[in-house]
Symmetry: C2
Subunit: 458 residues, 2 copies
């Protein structure tokens, strides 16, 4: 039996596969905004019915938030569980989209054809690479060569609040030999990668309250505390002149990068000038004594993701505002504890808080960083399949983004995760004009078809 | 001839006067928002027709922005010009209003009856005190005892961009012996005041731009500059630990408060604990070595009136934003130069700006502080009339707010301004639930009727 029939079927069916993805992309499944709850349900139902159409037993599982999709296909030998998420990021600033975010289409660009729309890359396009690989196998062979479960969630972009309780309640059903996750990127346009290090995350939203109402800055300016100024002072003090984060205990559990990994990374010849220039920047802005790849893969960060206070409309209003708020997130590495870091942050805030201000914490969430143990033979098999499809050796790399699910699979289900994805740095995920290359989609499908094949072999 | 007939007429006509004010308050003349342009026109037309109804020659004067209202009534002797503004502040945060801002009504409260609605105090209620005083004079006597001009603008809340060109172009018509301005407050509920010191203002809106699009903080966090952090550092550096403003040259032209004025102010027994407690605060937050009255009347300030950047909706979005913006204003005193201070601010910003950020200045405006020369006999006459109406000695005081018109009257028309107003500290001007006490309105009308009377006498 050769895989080439399955690959041919994938090539021949590509147009239909794209149409199916466009259908899914039209569903406005923004998980963070309660106004889109029904759209999240629609996306989950669409996936259930598509999985059923290719022979999976599939259904919706309700949660206190958006539903899960769980599906199974019986096969021989190894049991893998594929994970993806059907929810997408909000679309603001909407004015910067050149085409409506939920009216996806295939565009010709100077870099080839792309699928444009919110979720094209993160993560609807990516999760459909696996579904389409299964479809091709079923069409050609009538079966999948191994046991496959599928697990989709709809809360990934909001910190996955229902995920851990759901996994704990359904441990027996979900437990597999290995997880496959498609939510990461290629190392470069022509070099595929398996991510084995993932940063964790701690996030907190705080609101500083001063006077009990908005005041006229003429009457009260100079005598009343200004909560925007208090908040700005808190944020400005989070980094020192060297770009290091000042919270006491912040660097506990941050590992040094080993000489071996450092040398592997040097071989990747990461072009940070090119990486930054694509988004209009010139120079790395992290810790002064770290290399660019360390900054995004191996070092923790602290960023302000949003800030708000006072009069934000057009023109001027000389108000002295009652409150100001910010969303702050920390990317974590190694053994850093999200809980300890949020506690340290809150102590720091309270030390800087004047007597006339109070602070509310609106959101507090976190998950630790994850490091895969790559001894499982599946890692080498998957690397082989990737290398065959791309005709280039695949790399084991780090990732700056957080994919908490990998940590939870390890902790709750004792499964390692093989993280393979096909997105590119210029996919503009989380930004206006998100896209996914048709070549990513096509070769992604082919890659999973090959991986299913090699995982079935001794 | 006695003033008592006029005062009786005012008392008897109060209900009708309130009805007229409610009509004016229903017009949504928010000057800063272009969506309300037609409403500003409506307010100006309403005033023209009301002034005509009491015998003024009155008309609309077009400007590049909102129109002016100019009206004249011939009389004997002294020529005064009364100034007010018919535009109002925006109403956000709208959710905090207990009644709709443009559906005004008279409410019974534990402190007496109040007129509730946007503009009730600032400045529609105040300007109508003068119009109603003229109406009572005309009703009872058939004439006004002196020459009276009226000058209303509709751009006071947006920095009065059309005002100076208009005054320059209409100097001969507008030039009078003295200006009367009703846009200030009582010193306390039962102590009236004439404001003879006014703070000036310099305001600037800036936008810091980093990467050319919003980025995913997982992919770019740690290597990309974050414009919110840059903006926060700029703002946090504007004050030192003693509450002083750090901009080079900022305190040039700031006068020391004289011992005499200091002692007058001590006699006012300003209760700053009470003043602050009304808005939920405990302690003065200005320069550590200044008294509370100095902070609000005699010292310059720097406040952030609004800040914005990144994701501000519900939930969390781990975006690394492309831009962040803030509206910053300085209250000025003495001879401080708005132009020099904005220039110093911009130099400071550019020194702190990393190579990977740019800055745009969206709004830059300013006007100097004003100090009246109180030698004109009208000041003592007006103080007498105030003291008679309130049965308490009126005070010459400072004001933290900026009323640029007083400076322009001096500079362009060589007129001093007598600033008398009846608003209270708890009127919540510029805030939700703005109100004007019916007693302020009533005694305000009676005060102006008395002032017209005393100004006519030798």
């Amino acid at each position: 039996m050769s895989i080439s029939e399955v690959l041919n079927q994938i090539d021949n069916d590509l147009e239909n596969a794209i149409e199916r993805l466009l259908e899914l992309l039209r569903i406005e499944s923004i998980s963070t905004d309660p106004a889109y709850k029904e759209e999240c349900n629609r996306a989950a139902n669409w996936l259930v019915s598509d999985l059923k159409s290719i022979g999976f037993s599939a259904d919706i599982r309700k949660t206190p938030g958006h539903p899960m999709v769980v599906a199974h296909s019986k096969g021989e030998g190894l049991h893998v569980m594929f994970y993806g998420h059907y929810d997408v990021q909000p679309v603001d600033p909407i004015a910067l989209w050149e085409t409506p975010p939920f009216e996806p289409s295939v565009e010709d660009t100077s870099d080839g054809k792309v699928i444009r729309g919110r979720g094209a890359s993160d993560d609807k396009g990516q999760l459909m690479t696996f579904v389409e690989a299964c479809r091709a196998w079923k069409t050609v062979k009538g079966y999948l060569p191994i046991n496959v479960s599928v697990f989709f969630e709809g809360e990934e972009e909001t910190g996955s609040p229902s995920l851990v309780p759901f996994m704990q309640a359904n441990r027996a059903e979900l437990k597999s030999d290995l997880a496959l996750i498609c939510d990461t990127g290629l190392y470069s346009s022509d070099t595929p990668a398996i991510v084995t290090m993932l940063r964790g995350m701690a996030q907190i939203e705080l609101e500083i309250i001063g006077p009990d109402r908005d005041l006229h800055s003429g009457l009260y300016g100079g005598i009343s505390i200004n909560p925007i100024r208090v908040l700005n002072k808190i944020i400005a003090g989070l980094h020192d002149e060297l770009g290091r984060i000042t919270l006491p205990g912040f660097y506990e559990g941050v590992p040094e990068v080993s000489d071996e990994i450092r040398s592997q990374w040097q071989n990747l010849k990461f072009d940070h000038i090119n990486f930054l220039s694509k988004v209009g920047l010139l120079e790395p802005a992290g810790e002064v004594d770290c290399t660019p790849l360390e900054m995004i893969w191996a070092r923790p960060t602290c960023d302000v993701n949003g800030i708000s206070g006072g009069y934000e409309g057009d023109g001027f209003k000389t108000v002295l505002p009652s409150k100001a708020s910010a969303k702050i997130s920390f990317r974590l590495v190694g053994q850093q504890s999200p809980e300890a870091i949020l506690a340290s942050f809150k102590t720091y805030v309270e030390e800087l808080l004047p007597r006339d201000c109070t602070v509310n914490y609106i959101i507090e969430e976190g998950n630790p960083a994850a490091q895969m143990s790559i001894e499982h033979e599946a890692f080498d098999k998957a690397r082989l399949a990737l290398s065959e499809e791309w005709q280039r050796p695949a790399a084991f790399v780090g990732s700056g983004g957080s994919i908490p699910i990998a940590g939870f699979f390890k902790e709750i289900l004792q499964m390692d995760s093989v993280l393979i994805g096909f997105s590119k740095d210029n996919d503009q995920i989380h930004s206006p004009n998100e896209k996914y290359d048709v070549s990513s989609f096509h070769r992604g499908i082919r890659t999973w078809a090959r991986i299913l094949d090699v995982l079935a072999k001794e």
